[in-house]
Subunit: 112 residues, 3 copies
């Protein structure tokens, strides 16, 4: 199993969630974070205003999924989160060794 | 070393923390998150009221531990976090390559 | 590629960020968390006052970087986050399989 962590622009959360639901993703976890990328000292748009890129509010979306859904999910996130302006975000892929669904005790892909 | 990430119901945090302390877990990190699982469109209880399961508040508990404590920790979390109602949560297990304790410079299992 | 997760004292964030920028780190993500380490029942200083170490506010700094920057980054974080008092924090190292930069579609180390 794999985990995708996507750090995106906050106003893109709804589109990303819908795009993931549309391809059959069953669950996800969202965290409010702050971050910066390469443009330190330059400016980035946030809610229509320009900010010096120090820390800007971002949303981290985490999705654990079966490996055969990985490419679809990456494509869905890119399509939904892309604006073409700096600060669109990053996707990080890692490996997950085990998943347990607490209510049922199911494990592995059945638990996702 | 392994990392457990458990996404649980917020009111279960105290029980989960006590269950982990009881088996010898020395440290943990908690994040307020939002999430959904399989019941999109259905309802889930939160603080006694029913919500349509869009994003619900959850707590993410992260524990890094020695591999020989993994099974005990999973069992402890399941027992403490389980209510039998939907939304009880998930446990994700990943591998951790290195740990450093900043104050002492210790590394590896000695640093956990 | 590797991910460093450092859980540090909140007032150390600026120093850690500057130390990482100084060695060429291009991006990072910050989350407000709560945590405890080994001193349950003992006290730890936070903003000049003593607290019983239950959950204390901490900052999680996440940095994804090329493997050849790993040792420098660990050293930079330790130097910047260290006070010598309990609660200085931990660094966890994990493996990252893929990175995608959403705006450009770049992948791998070019995307970090
Ligand atoms: N190497 C990294 N490690 C951890 N988090 C990162 C890293 N790079 C980016 N991020 C996170 O992703 C967010 C968005 O990054 P961003 O899209 O600005 O990257 P970028 O490389 O500067 O690309 P762009 O030129 O399109 O802005 C950052 O605010 C930060 O939270
Ligand atoms: N595949 C997943 N990826 C990332 N986070 C997930 C995933 N599945 C669940 N979560 C997180 O765990 C929380 C609890 O999930 P939940 O217990 O509702 O899972 P479920 O599969 O719907 O099980 P149940 O039928 O018992 O409700 C979600 O709110 C979300 O934060
Ligand atoms: N095993 C662990 N798993 C997950 N998070 C941890 C773990 N150990 C520590 N942390 C996180 O790091 C923070 C700082 O830990 P802390 O520096 O107090 O560790 P410690 O082992 O008690 O070292 P010290 O004796 O120097 O205080 C904790 O508040 C917690 O958020
Ligand atoms: Mg940028
Ligand atoms: Mg559910
Ligand atoms: Mg401590």
């Amino acid at each position: 199993m794999k985990k995708l962590e996507a750090v995106i622009k906050p106003f893109k959360l709804d589109e990303v969630r819908e795009a993931l639901s549309a391809i059959g993703v069953n669950g996800l976890t969202v965290t409010e974070v702050k971050g910066f990328g390469r443009q330190k000292g330059h400016t980035e748009l946030y809610r229509g205003a320009e900010y010096v890129v120090d820390f800007l509010p971002k949303i981290k979306v985490e999705v654990v999924l079966a490996e055969n859904m990985l490419d679809n999910a990456i494509e869905a996130i890119i399509k939904a989160a892309h604006t073409g302006k700096i600060g669109d975000g990053k996707i990080f892929v890692t490996s997950v060794e085990q998943v347990i669904r607490i209510r049922t005790g199911e494990t592995g892909e059945a638990a996702i």
